[in-house]
């Protein structure tokens, strides 16, 4: 018998697996080009061309025992130094290698920091809609996820509710901007107010509350928008970054944590995080990829490609009668379900070979997520199907 918690997880996940299997079946049945799979956040854009040359250079010029070997659990010192310097150039910070911990993607980083911080029953606040794994990551360490209900007007967080939900057990708050699943970028005003609320609560309860900024989509922003760098607004911020989206390397599992000197109990947090990285079995972030990303610090994601998808999809959907906040980041559209039940809508969409994810999966029923990290051709070819889908719904209304 497996553990009771995992038995439950297996039962819950069978729905998602069924959806994945159905997608596969439909592709075999109708041809991959006739199935519009908007369900996965797997970048369709290839990694920058230079990546392969950089890997080859490293393999030719560096000692293989060093490149593929163990290093400090925190990561190669020179890699951490280079990343710190690059952040300093961008945001005027004064980080050194001491502030950077290389991690197995942002998912690894989030697990490391939650393992480091959480005592049983400690509370972690997330804002709906939120990335579904935050609940698992929190419960892995016996923490309790506390959810701020969604503000569907513009999907900026509901700060009033947020303030009310902070308690003496609040250990951390997770923010994700640009956001999965809405694509919304939290504004500077939002971040400033959030920082004020947190400082006030820290004083009131005599505690430290860490703001964990999960930002794999940092560089994926449009319309000249810049996502505020949160450590500049709130001292107890820890950043979890990933190269999965910016360099299209999601399978390689490479990212980092930033733990600023200003964070409360900095020494303990850093030392604890290094140990957590080891005892959770990551040991260290994959070694060759550490050395690769250190040479890609000024490379840019294919923002233009994503933007073209965004414009085409957003305009096409609105034209067909869908309602949606136009997102300024990431590669997701979060569309209001034209049926009351987002699950029913996703079911009906399948008839048109449109694969979407119900907002319920992100604690925000009544909406669906469309991941447009697909080819432009897929976007264009999908639009008539979205229209037919809406027409069917209207004809029955």
């Amino acid at each position: 018998m497996i553990s009771k918690k995992m038995k439950q997880a297996v039962q819950d996940s069978s729905v998602i697996r069924a959806m994945f299997e159905e997608g596969k079946k439909r592709k075999e049945l109708y041809g991959a080009e006739n199935v519009f799979d908007f369900s996965l956040g797997n970048p369709n854009t290839p990694p920058p061309k230079e990546i392969n040359r950089i890997i080859s250079d490293i393999l030719q010029n560096e000692d293989p025992t060093f490149v593929h070997g163990y290093m400090n659990n925190a990561g190669y010192e020179d890699v951490r130094e280079a990343i710190a310097a690059s952040i300093n150039r961008k945001f005027g910070t004064a980080y050194g290698a001491r502030n950077i911990l290389m991690t197995t993607g942002a998912a690894g980083g989030l697990n490391v920091i939650l393992k480091t911080l959480l005592d049983p029953e400690d509370e972690v606040i997330a804002f709906a809609p939120y990335f579904v794994e935050y609940r698992s990551y929190t419960e892995n360490y016996e923490g309790r996820l506390v959810v701020v209900p969604p503000n569907t007007a513009d999907f900026q967080p509901d700060l009033k509710k947020f303030g009310e939900l902070i308690t003496s057990r609040t250990k951390a708050v997770i923010v994700n901007s640009p956001n999965n699943p809405t694509g919304v970028v939290y504004s500077e005003d939002t971040i400033k107010k959030m920082a004020e609320i947190l400082r006030k609560a820290q004083k009131e309860f005599g505690t430290s509350i860490y703001l964990i900024s999960d930002e794999p989509y940092r560089e994926l922003v449009y319309d000249g928008v810049v996502a505020p760098y949160i450590p500049l607004y709130y001292e107890n911020t820890i950043v979890a970054y990933s190269y999965s989206k910016s360099l299209s390397l999601p399978g390689e599992r490479i990212g980092y944590l930033v733990i600023p000197d200003e964070a409360a109990d900095y020494e303990d947090v850093v030392n604890g995080a290094v140990i957590a990285n080891r005892i959770l079995g990551y040991v260290n972030a994959p070694s060759l990829m550490q050395r690769v990303v250190a040479q890609c610090l000024d490379m840019e994601a294919d923002v233009e490609g994503y933007n073209r998808n965004r414009e085409a999809l957003y305009n096409g959907l609105v034209e067909a009668g869908y309602e949606c906040v136009k997102p300024q980041g990431a590669f997701y559209l979060f569309v209001k379900s034209p049926l009351e039940s987002d699950k029913d809508f996703c079911e009906l969409a399948k008839k048109y070979n449109l694969l979407l994810v119900p907002g319920s999966a992100f604690a925000c029923p009544g909406y669906v997520r469309i991941a447009y990290c697909v080819s432009y051709d897929t976007v264009v070819a999908s639009l008539p199907r979205f229209k037919e889908l809406m027409d069917e719904i209207r004809s029955k209304a």
Copy 2:
């Protein structure tokens, strides 16, 4: 404030960190060639030369979006199929991709399977001396590590004590052969008897007890010895394998779990393990390295190099008056401390620039671990220092 458990871990680890720092300081002070660092299991042997060519071939011939992208959380289907076929050729098993889960090294695999299996207060049995992280891995999931005391006669497990320690809460047993820190290979006789004891206990308690075989050192065997393939002896065996030692890729974090069809509740265990891989934040084993190892299945570690070290070190130490069971696997010697306290002995050894790990760190005080995955020159140059160290101890006795 970080969590109470992690605060304790930070305090405990400061001793090891101090040792590491002292090693570094000594290397600066005396020159790296004059410090004999036997403290780390970091292979000194470079990876096979073909590895770099294989990586280059993959980068040239395969689609980068595929090579660096997400795949099923269990790993690439073709990689899992190739690994299953290779195990089948070696051991006559009938595995398919369905039995293989690609993991972030063996450490990742062990965490995944323990997360899958353990309810709070479930017991996991380990045999002293054991790899120190087994305790952390077990406690990560609220399990309790139960330790069978060492059998210092030959370091085969004490099976009588083992039988006595099994209870109705025993969920798993971890074996590690070839063993870290002793280098001992568990004999076929040991494995057969262990299997009998486990079957009897399963019947008595009406439970399933999983034998988790942690075998990163499988191929590192000498004197023509073969480590028995445990799934052939006990049906509820799950294997955690790593390429860290066999291909000298410890920094890359690549390995796999074998979950045989015959394992109790196979479906739940496999489905649970795939979910655990995801929610623990590994998501998937590093993608490029998955494709690399699939092309290295018949490559061999530099066993001859390690064997030369083993012979020179073992013979030199015995000649100098040390007592040690001659190991038949891995790259460790586990030497009886000539002082009553292994910690005092390791302290004294530092005077001769010999860096060793006390057996206490493996729940086996009175011994020290010497990791001989260093250059042959280091081994040879260290022998006179080991002799001087013994001479000093004898002169004071």
